[in-house]
Symmetry: C2
Subunit: 458 residues, 2 copies
């Protein structure tokens, strides 16, 4: 049989690396395996995974029904946490970055899904304008942007990047560590269309989460803007999403005959809060207390011998900013100045006035000899799961956020696709664990689809 | 940089092989590269490949327009021949086998394409009945059938196999060399539906080319039958397909500004012919002569210093039966009894009364140290190119048919998908050659789509 030393190499092997650095990261990826689930508490999850496998045809039929009623957004990434006893989404990003972290072996899958998506959104489109974030110095983001542009181009669309950077007055070419180049061109408006230069395509793909507000130049254009402006963080709130998710999880759980808690993080939210002025703290403390009690009750029900914790996040925050964890009410009552400052501002200096208090889900997946904590991020284009990667972090615990500013995680591309469950393998085999990730991530995708539909209705 | 010894391993590496035989075929695949184009006459093809790359966005937009007008069949495989100066389809199979020869790394791509296809053909379907060929002893075919069934099941459809075998009176389980099992159940009719046991799904996938005629049990069912009965070899003729293909190639060539001959094998056809009674031979000779002259003229135009040849095939033949090549009129005038017998019967004993005389296209791709001749076969599901393999044959010449009864070819899975052209690579780099294959194969797919539309109209 196959020597075990070979591990689970990925298709990366067949692409000639551009740099020596790439070579090593490639060898590392090639020689590694699926993260290890380091907990004895896998009973309910194994049950969940085998349950999902057994009901695969039913689950897929259910999803197909859902997408007919509520089409999926153009693209989405979902952060999952896998506690062994629970597998749940903790963040849903409708303007995903990180495309450069996906397994190059899945590029064909991404290309095919982009073709499906664009044929549906705008059948006669021939060209696409991508509007990115304004991070010109974040090379990780720019590598993702370059990959996204390439994927859309390889799907057969002429693709250019229109930047909202206020001080950009001509094309700017940025050289990337991968050896690629990315060209940013200033977005301009002509009548009811936005474009760059003389390029005014039918489809505008937003890769900017609009944390800084809705750019007036994009208002009321007669082009297809995907995802729509209204789903940016200037309008969207996390508890809105998780409210939809709760409903989706209940419906799914009823169909699949499981306890929805196994896939749904509990949450509560507060009214206005001002961390600097210490306003709204009582409401926060009350909610933290109530949520910890609720989690404790579920832990007792399942015999889970771990301290419950909650995660407090800005309602419209992103990039892992303004996030804290708490294991007790006291922790939120005794915030020091530094902690309060941390919680009061999010991306682009937006101040935090609302928070969501979410059940903390342990991450019991670890990686390598150092037992680094690993958190899966699943990518979807249209309703197709096209891959994902693990955020691997040596310096963090299983109850900590792995996506925080300035924090460097190691991306570990999924070795297998998420759409090929294999009932002849063990429920926890790689392809089957990835399938389970894909199912839960698609539930979050469905919640996002319902958010977008609610926008259209509202 | 990457050591050359690694070659271009495929994703096969990550799947544990089921048998030792598999292990070696896997290692072989892993260590091999893309076949070598052994001809100096690559000028026009390189030109064609770089032309296709340069016009990729335009070509893909053109295809999208075409699929909107004429939806693609459920699945199709196309045999191509690559002469270096010419790349053309020579056979289009609407009931493809050989799914087991595809690169396992592309399974996810197949699954995603099946999901797209079935969502389009029958949005609310939950189950699929596959109706296969009646070859119960052809293990290659049964391995393909097992793979096809698995792919549809993994796409999220309950899938069973309904056999038309007349003497099957209960489920028959066949063990395969791969270690898998395939279960054939007798098809039965109930009212307007066919099914097996109590399984009467909305969708019937035909994987039987109906060489033996249209089975009455499948007539006028109210289920979706894909591809439709009328496109089986009992009704279809090759010159019908290549008539559509000629038109497609002309339209494409006009758009892409190339000589259509570079992608289109010339052909002619005769009226009734009876090889045993030696009726219709004069017409055959006349057409062979005319076709050889036409090819000679094109060879002169492009300075190709090779003898032209033609391939004579049954109009409705398949499985490489009733096929011969001829380099001169004399060859068809001097057929001996054995040759005439060979040409007079095709699959399931159907007699040959009509032939197509097609321009022979040299295969100048070779493989390995033995310089075995290699012929690409491209697979499509819906309008997506999902992979392919090479038929590799050591005992045959560049002007011979590589798919003939009793002949054993080595399948060599494509190392890369066909949908990810890379304009930063050379036009003849693996991904780009595969892209060119995918473009030409899709032209044959479009011709098949138009054949099906003509059925519906007729």
């Amino acid at each position: 049989m196959f020597p075990v030393e070979y591990g689970r190499p990925t298709r990366r092997l067949i692409h000639l690396p551009r740099t020596i650095v790439d070579f090593w990261s490639l060898m590392n990826t090639a020689l590694h395996a699926v993260p290890h689930l380091t907990t004895a508490l896998t009973g309910p999850l194994l049950q969940l995974e085998s349950h999902l496998l057994d009901h695969q045809a039913e689950i897929e039929a259910w999803f197909r029904d859902q997408w007919r009623q509520t089409p999926a957004p153009f693209y989405t990434s979902v952060d999952l946490r896998n506690a062994g006893f629970k597998l749940a989404p903790v963040d849903t990003n409708l303007f995903p970055a990180g495309f450069n972290n996906l397994n190059p072996a899945f590029e064909a899958l991404c290309i095919q899904a982009i073709q499906s998506a664009l044929e549906r959104f705008y059948p006669t489109a021939r060209r696409v304008l991508v509007i990115p974030e304004n991070h010109t110095r974040n090379l990780f983001y720019l590598e993702s942007l370059a990959t996204l542009r390439e994927l859309i181009a390889r799907a057969g669309y002429e693709t250019r990047i229109g930047s909202l950077l206020p001080d950009l007055d001509g094309p700017q070419v940025i050289e990337l560590p991968s050896g690629r180049k990315v060209t940013l061109e200033p977005v301009r408006r002509e009548g009811d269309k936005v474009g760059v230069d003389d390029f005014f395509p039918c489809v505008v793909v937003l890769n900017n989460d609009l944390s800084g507000g809705r750019p007036p130049i994009l208002e009321d254009v007669d082009q297809a803007v995907v995802p729509p402006l209204g789903i940016g963080w200037s309008s969207r709130i996390k508890s809105g999403h998780f409210g939809h998710y709760r409903k989706v999880a209940e419906e799914f759980a009823a169909m699949a005959e499981i306890d929805p808690w196994l896939i749904d993080p509990l949450f509560r939210n507060c009214g206005e809060i001002d961390f600097m002025k210490r306003e709204g703290e009582n409401c926060l403390a009350r909610n933290v207390d109530a949520l910890l009690s609720a989690i404790r009750q579920k832990y007792e029900q399942y015999g889970i011998d771990k301290p419950p914790f909650v995660v407090i996040k800005s309602e419209s925050g992103t990039y892992g900013m303004a996030v804290m964890t708490a294991h007790s009410v006291e922790e939120v009552q005794e915030l020091n100045r530094k902690q309060r400052t941390h919680m009061s501002k999010t991306k682009e200096g937006q101040s935090v006035s609302k928070v969501i208090i979410q059940e903390g889900v342990y991450t019991f997946e670890t990686w390598g000899e150092a037992n680094a904590v690993a958190e899966p991020v699943v990518y979807m284009i249209d309703h197709f799961v096209v891959g994902g990667f693990y955020r691997v972090h040596t310096g963090r615990g299983p109850n900590e956020n792995l996506n925080a500013p300035g924090m460097h995680f190691e991306p570990l591309a999924f070795a297998d696709p998420c759409n090929m469950p294999d009932c002849t393998e063990f429920p926890d085999a790689g392809v089957n664990r990835f399938y389970a990730y894909g199912v839960i991530a698609r539930l979050a995708l469905l919640a996002a689809a319902r958010e977008i539909r609610a926008l259209d209705a509202g």
